[in-house]
Symmetry: C2
Subunit: 376 residues, 2 copies
């Protein structure tokens, strides 16, 4: 019953063949070493701040060359070795059957009690997810290529036609709901067709997206409108990057004027430490930050109602972010963060409603776009 259509499994996609080859190679190496009387050992690239490099020229965070050994015959690593093999086997099954699974599904697939013992392969998903990331970096294959998805998050609407698993999604006719951005948006699943849009406006939250969609901002300003429900997940970031690289669309962000908004922008732009190994597939070095800006309180003549006092934690985070290499070397951002600290308060996009229900969609953003007033 649980088989994929023969047609699908017979003609494995090129990408899948490559990934499968890498998994088989990893397993072959283990068996060869074992049969040859040598100890099997994995070399796992290190995912940590200490092994993260800021590539100034490319404008992205990258992973360095440090690796950690994971030998089988070591009490400290034997279990992880076995876990790595188990997940490798699940991924092989997924690829061969042309199916995908959630992170939690992969955990459950591998979870069992080792025969003849009381030892579980995995106790919680917290043990399982990092092993999958290990496999990503070791195989040099992204999670999407391992047929693993996370929760879908984020929504799109606007002047573009997207093909999603063969279905044509007309972004111009998606009503008030929009198209849910899938977790896997690689070119073999998602293709771009007709696109009139000249840029992407990416907003932080669904409620802000609703305001822009209700006012048909994307129609009036010929663009695509997206949100990522806070810190955008990989699927959303990858889609934005593909729109940027393949269709040459600028990605313009409207986020809150607080350290969280700045951090979301930095992740969209340069990547994150934990996913540094795939910055080149996710980061968008020329993404722009249109607002909300610290100067807006005076410049837009906003009322005191928009102010939310910075907490001690906000101040700490703002200073940390100012010290990130990519912000540290940017005069505009140093000024912006200093201005935020001098203000002593943060401002949310939704606070702009204080100036009128559609002030942000009909005055603030159009004016800033016209004068190209943004940080990049």
């Amino acid at each position: 019953m649980a088989k994929a259509k023969p047609a699908e499994s017979a003609k494995l996609k090129e990408r899948d063949k490559r990934t499968l080859g890498k998994i088989v190679e990893l397993a072959d190496d283990v068996s060869k070493k074992t049969l040859g009387g040598r100890e099997p050992i994995f070399h796992i690239p290190t995912r940590a701040k200490s092994n993260t490099i800021w590539n100034k020229k490319r404008g992205i965070l990258e992973m360095g060359d440090a690796r950690a050994d994971r030998p089988l015959f070591d009490l400290k690593t034997a279990k992880q070795f076995m876990q790595t093999m188990l997940h490798g086997s699940t991924i092989k099954d997924l690829i061969e059957s042309g199916k995908t699974s959630s992170l939690r599904g992969v955990f459950y697939k591998a979870k069992h009690t080792v025969a003849g013992t009381k030892e579980n392969t995995f106790d919680t998903q917290d043990e399982s997810d990092p092993i999958l990331e290990d496999l990503e970096v070791t195989l040099g294959a992204l999670r999407e290529e391992l047929h693993i998805f996370a929760e879908n998050r984020g929504t799109l609407v606007g002047n573009i036609t997207i093909v999603d698993k063969g279905d044509e999604i007309d972004g111009r006719r998606m009503g008030s709901g929009g198209w849910g951005i899938p977790s896997i948006v690689e070119p073999d699943v998602i293709q771009f067709k007709k696109c009139e849009a000249k840029f992407v406006l990416h907003v932080e939250k669904g409620t802000v997206w609703n305001r822009f969609n209700e006012d048909r901002f994307w129609e009036k300003n010929n663009c695509i409108l997206t949100h990522g429900a806070g810190q955008p997940p990989r699927g959303c970031r990858r889609l934005l990057q593909r729109l940027n690289q393949e269709l040459k669309l600028p990605i313009i962000c409207v986020l809150d004027c607080d350290p969280w908004g700045h951090y979301i922008y930095s992740v969209i732009k340069q990547g994150s430490i934990s996913l540094a190994f795939e910055s080149s597939r996710l980061a968008i070095p020329d993404a722009k930050f249109l607002g909300i800006r610290a100067k807006d309180f005076k410049e837009c003549n906003l009322g005191d109602a928009v102010k939310i006092d910075l907490s001690e934690n906000d101040i700490k985070r703002a200073k940390e972010i100012a010290a990130y290499p990519w912000f540290e070397q940017h005069k505009g951002w140093q000024k912006e963060i200093q201005h935020l600290l001098n203000n002593g308060f943060k401002m949310e996009v939704e606070a702009m409603i204080n100036k009128g229900i559609s002030y942000v969609t009909e005055e603030y953003v159009p004016e800033r776009l016209k004068s190209k007033d943004w940080l990049d």
Copy 2:
């Protein structure tokens, strides 16, 4: 700039005229009393467990008749009185301009320092949201009718065509992403067109939805497939109820076998205490619980890997839920919850992957549907 199109505001919808009439009536009453030298006072229906009634005949939770007075000339209620008036005014603006706002937007719209004092109208959104619920029950108008939305949450795909603000959404051609279920799904925004589907399968989470969508469950079983990202928000529940009442589609739920899954089901079916005043617009008394069932561990011959031990809190919650009047009087549910407690472990839908990647979509659910093996 921030005005609605004249055409739109000129011909207010019937629903909006009614709501506007109620707000004006509320305000008129205040001014009449004031001018007549009497004290203005609101009578707010009480939203609490003590004022929630289980209507056995209708199978839903309802709000009782208890009310609390909110006089202007009382130090304890004067501020809330003013807050109620402020939000009433914002809602009037929203309706007249044909726009909607988020809960947070309404908070910001009303937030300011009272002239000549150091007193703020609202300090945090926590003060603002309950005032809006007060207005809902006092006016007898739902949040949607007050033009206020929450975050969009949940996704739909399947054999139905939906019209969303005039755009035709073909649920059969929504790819891997699906159509985002909006926060407001009233008939003047969302209409149903061609529908071949014979039922709705509602699953708990987006990752489970992905599994069912990838296996094209809705196509093979002629249904609509939805999820609500955990506890479904009002928009999702209202959409399910409309599909049930208007198209006579059974709503069949696949949720985790734990107190949280049972609670989600009870809210879908009978409503919740906090929103008892709108159960008749949200509750679906004939919704069915297909699984995961406590008996499945043995009946489906599942491995130990699917077990997650019940925590003390789980046990406490399970007992609380068993004592809800609508569960208390249901033999099947008493047995189900007792079985869960006897098992001593919970099981998630995603754990079924242990029996095969598509076991749940290709064997488990189709077999249960065929034999009508569910709780209701």
